[in-house]
């Protein structure tokens, strides 16, 4: 059983919901990554999404883009991040998932990237510029190493496509909650909640919602329709402001909601 599958199963058994925070590796210096990871695990994160900076992150909004540029200015490389993950892995028990764009991986060399990631104890990959049509480029290597590619579905994905993506999926399904880029938003509409219910009905995998989730109220609202949330831009802001209590508060927001799906 993979580490991601195990934590999701445990949550289900305990009537819990997942909270997956995003950290940009190298924002604040690469030396801050291990302390951020251990802090988030201790605060109750289900898994951690570790962003690898890329010069042209078209799926990301200004907060993550700026964090990525700061990380690049600090000299952060994919190689160094994998090495850091390998060093922290023995004391971290939750899944660690790399989120990046395809080009840094191509430059690294796909087989070597998978091999090094496997050795470092990486559990999953989120690749926002890799739709299922193109995933053959890496999926075989990842499958062999037991590294799970987390597939994304969006509000614009038609039903048949959601079925197809959900069937191929590993670990959990990442439901993008807005037509747009990552970043803080005011709220969500009913169309989204209906969409999440639809995805949840189709998918045998746990469904985690991400993009634009930034307050405890958001978390509590949206989590009634899915199995967990992914929070990126807000976590980056809170780390930058040194507001660790704010992070704990967000994570705690999932714990107050029971694992039952709300009817619309």
């Amino acid at each position: 059983m993979t580490r991601i599958h195990k934590v999701m199963q445990e949550l289900k058994n305990n009537n819990g919901k997942a909270f997956v925070p995003y950290v940009m590796a190298g924002d604040g210096g690469l030396q801050s990554l291990p302390e951020r990871i251990t802090f988030l695990e201790k605060a109750g994160a289900t898994a951690i999404e570790i962003g690898i900076p890329f010069s042209d992150p078209v799926a990301d909004g200004p907060v993550i883009q700026q964090a990525g540029l700061r990380a690049l200015e600090n000299g952060t490389t994919l190689k160094a991040v994998i090495q850091t993950i390998g060093e922290i892995r023995p004391i971290v028990h939750i899944p660690l998932i790399i989120m990046t764009y395809m080009n840094p991986i191509l430059a690294y060399g796909i087989p070597k990237f998978i091999e090094d990631s496997f050795r470092a104890g990486v559990d999953g990959l989120i690749l926002p510029d890799l739709p299922v049509e193109e995933e053959d480029i890496i999926a075989g290597h990842a499958d062999k190493a037991g590294i799970e590619i987390i597939r994304l579905v969006s509000l614009t994905s038609p039903l048949e496509r959601i079925h197809n993506i959900a069937n191929r999926g590993k670990g959990f399904l990442y439901a993008v909650t807005v037509n747009g880029i990552t970043g803080v938003r005011q709220g969500f509409n009913e169309q989204l909640l209906q969409h999440l219910k639809k995805v949840k009905n189709i998918s045998n995998l746990p469904v985690l919602a991400g993009f634009g989730i930034s307050t405890s109220t958001h978390v509590q609202e949206i989590i009634q329709y899915c199995d967990g949330v992914i929070v990126g831009s807000k976590i980056i802001e809170l780390f930058n402001q040194g507001d660790l209590d704010g992070i704990v508060e967000l994570i705690n927001a999932v714990k107050t909601v029971k694992n039952s799906l709300k009817d619309l």
Partner: protein, 401 residues
């Protein structure tokens, strides 16, 4: 060399190893639908009639194939012909594609259009097509390019487009594409993205090539009419590569025709100030496609440099990348200084002020033609006129020329 059954891209939008659809899931439905609607439109006689009617009466096609007698005599080599895309309405080849895609947007019921622009020629062409068809138009342009091309910004605004300045990255074309893609992801339901070159996710490289291939088909026919044979060489400049792809495509199967794509070497390919992605780049993924890219060893995209805003892009279209690998097209590079000299020479000998982009193609032809026989023919794609560049040229030449 090449097969007589060149039918790329394949059904997944790949040109050999290049191309594809490396975009966020939110855009996948839009690009899949676009491919279907595009194929339907191209098979629809009424769409073809609208397109060709406008190309003829609005754009001013066909453009002449002009024998550059003075330049030919000056070089004492092959006969030089200029394909006069600079005589198109709005002053460059870009209108061929903008008009085609704007008609496609209208047909798909999308009343809003977003586009990126480097030198401003694609922005002006798109703003023009949108004004004609009554579509709402938004153009992303790098702050650096806005500074370099103020007259084109004014033209776009005059045509009713909203021009949005992009300050991220190098504040040039690459960053304008990023922002246009972000806007499209956010507004995909009512907006069509008129991508300006043979790049981006499938089907864009195919669509832009097809709309631009009118250049090569006309050239082929006109050259045969004038010389009774095919040219020995065809030369075009390459940024993203749309004028070159449109020019080359109808000649790909003609193995006797040598094809030359000319990139911007900027201050020199041994400096970091160039835009020579074919010469100095490696295959990678940017803006939705696999292609040759200027990048560092960690896969971070490097900033390009060229005196010409339209060539200032760190990648090149996927079909060009494939044509390089199979050896069908030769890719060369020309420095800023050489392009400026070529621009001056064409002004003085032929009374034509070419765009700085096209001046790169001319500069390479100046080297090529003298090595060829006097019976041979070279066609240069004069992709655009130089009015937009006179300030840049004046600043470099000191206004004394």
């Amino acid at each position: 060399m090449t097969s007589l059954t060149y039918t790329l891209p394949d059904e997944r939008g790949h040109f050999g190893a290049y191309g594809g659809r490396y975009v966020p899931e939110t855009l996948m439905q839009a690009v899949l639908e676009l491919e279907i609607e595009y194929k339907k439109a191209m098979a629809d006689p009424s769409f073809q009639r609208s397109l060709h009617g406008l190309l003829k009466d609005y754009v001013g096609r066909e453009t002449p194939l002009y024998f550059a007698h003075n330049l030919t005599e000056h070089l004492k080599g092959a006969k030089i012909y200029l394909k006069r895309e600079d005589l198109n309405h709005t002053g460059a080849h870009k209108i061929n594609n903008s008009l085609g895609q704007a008609l496609l947007a209208e047909r798909m019921g999308k009343r809003k259009v977003v586009a990126e622009t480097g030198a401003g020629q694609h922005g002006v062409a798109t703003a023009t097509a949108c004004a004609l068809l009554g579509l709402e138009c938004m153009i992303y342009m790098g702050a650096e390019d806005i500074h370099r091309q103020q007259m084109n910004v004014f033209r776009m605004e005059l045509l009713g487009a909203k021009v949005i300045s992009v300050n991220s990255g190098s504040a040039t074309l690459k960053d304008a594409v990023n922002e246009a893609l972000r806007y499209w992801v956010t507004n995909v339901e009512d907006t069509h993205y008129i991508l300006g070159s043979v790049m981006g996710p499938h089907p864009f490289p195919m669509i832009v090539r097809d709309f631009q291939s009118v250049i090569g088909y006309e050239t082929r026919k006109q050259f045969i009419e004038k010389e009774g044979k095919l040219p020995e060489a065809v030369v075009a400049c390459i940024g993203g590569g749309s004028n070159a792809m449109g020019m080359f495509y109808p000649f790909i199967k003609d193995e006797t025709v040598r094809l030359f794509g000319v990139e911007a070497a900027g201050l020199g390919i041994d400096t970091y100030k160039h835009a020579a992605s074919m010469t100095k780049g490696k295959p990678g993924i940017l803006h939705g496609a696999m292609m040759y890219l200027l990048q560092d060893g960690n896969g971070q995209i490097q900033e390009a440099h060229s005196i010409s805003a339209g060539l200032d892009y760190p990648g090149v279209g996927p079909e060009h990348s494939h044509l390089k690998d199979i050896g069908r097209v030769h890719y060369e590079s020309i420095k800023d200084e050489e392009a400026l000299e070529a621009l001056k020479l064409l002004c003085q000998l032929e009374g034509i002020i070419p765009a700085l982009e096209s001046s790169h193609a001319i500069a390479y032809a100046l080297k090529l033609a003298p090595t060829m026989n006097r019976d041979d023919g070279v066609v240069i794609c004069l992709s655009g006129r130089g009015d937009k560049d006179v300030e840049t040229v004046r600043a470099r030449l000191g206004g004394n020329e």
